[in-house]
Subunit: 155 residues, 2 copies
Amino acid sequence: MDAPPRWLDPEEKAAWISFIRMQETLIGRLSRHVQADSGLSASDYTVLVSLTERGDGRMRFLDLSKRAEWEKSRMSHQVTRMVKRGLVAREECPDDGRGAFIVATPAGYKAIEEAAPQHLEHVRRLFIDALTPNQLNTLGRLSQRILDHMEKQHG
Amino acid sequence: MDAPPRWLDPEEKAAWISFIRMQETLIGRLSRHVQADSGLSASDYTVLVSLTERGDGRMRFLDLSKRAEWEKSRMSHQVTRMVKRGLVAREECPDDGRGAFIVATPAGYKAIEEAAPQHLEHVRRLFIDALTPNQLNTLGRLSQRILDHMEKQHG
C-alpha cells in the first residue's frame, strides 16, 4: 500500500484498546481455566465445540477450518494431535473429492460434556456478570453487527 | 462444583455466541493477515507490541507473561523461538532475583514498525468501519467495564 496509514483517532484508539485488551484477558483466562479444569487446550475445546454443537459430531475438514478461521495447516496439526489422544477420528471419503470428515469420538464427547459446565461458570463469572442484561444485549447486538460486516468482506 | 450449572438463558446465550463468534472471526482474520503481510505470527505480534508500545522495548519476563495472560511455559517457548529469529533478546539479571528482561532488538522494532500500519488497515476495515462512532464508543465502554470487572477477580 502506498497511501499513508489512516491512523486511529484518539476515540477510535481508546475503543479498540479497551476491546482488544478485554478480549485478550477474557480468552487468556478462559483458556487457562479450561486447561486446568479438563486438560483440554483452548484449541481442543474449539474443535470439539465446533463438531458437537450442531448435534451430529462430524464436519468436513475444510468446513471445520473455515468455522474456526484457522489456516488448514494449523487445523491439520491440531486434528493429528487430537486423533492421537482419541478425541476425534478422521473418516476418509475418497469417492466424492470433498475431503475427509472429522468426527468426535465417544471420548471426545465425554471430554466436552465434562468441560462445558465449568467453562460456562467461568464465562458467567468473568463476562456475563460484568454487565446488566441491557448492556449485555447491546454488546451482543454490536458484536453481531461487526460479524455481519466481516462476512461481507473477502478476508 | 456440586451445584448444577447455571445455564445461560436464551438472551445471555445469544449475546455470548455473537460476541465469541465475532471475536474468533476477527482475531483469526487479523492473525492470518499479519502472517501473510509480515511473516509475524499473532504471538510474535503480541510480544513485540507489548515490548514496544511503552517506548522502551523491554519488559521483565514475568510481566510480559502476565500482560499477555499466557502461561509462563507458553511465553518461554515463544521467546526462545523469537530469540532464534533475532526479534528479541534475553538480558539476564542474576543480581536482583526478579528474573530476566526480554528486549526487542532493532530487527524486532523494524518488524513491528513495518507490520503495524497494515495491521491497522485491517483493524479499520474489519472492525472500526462496521460501527458508527457512537456504537464504537459504546463497545469501548462496555469492554472497559468487563475488563475492570475481570481485574477484580482472582483468575
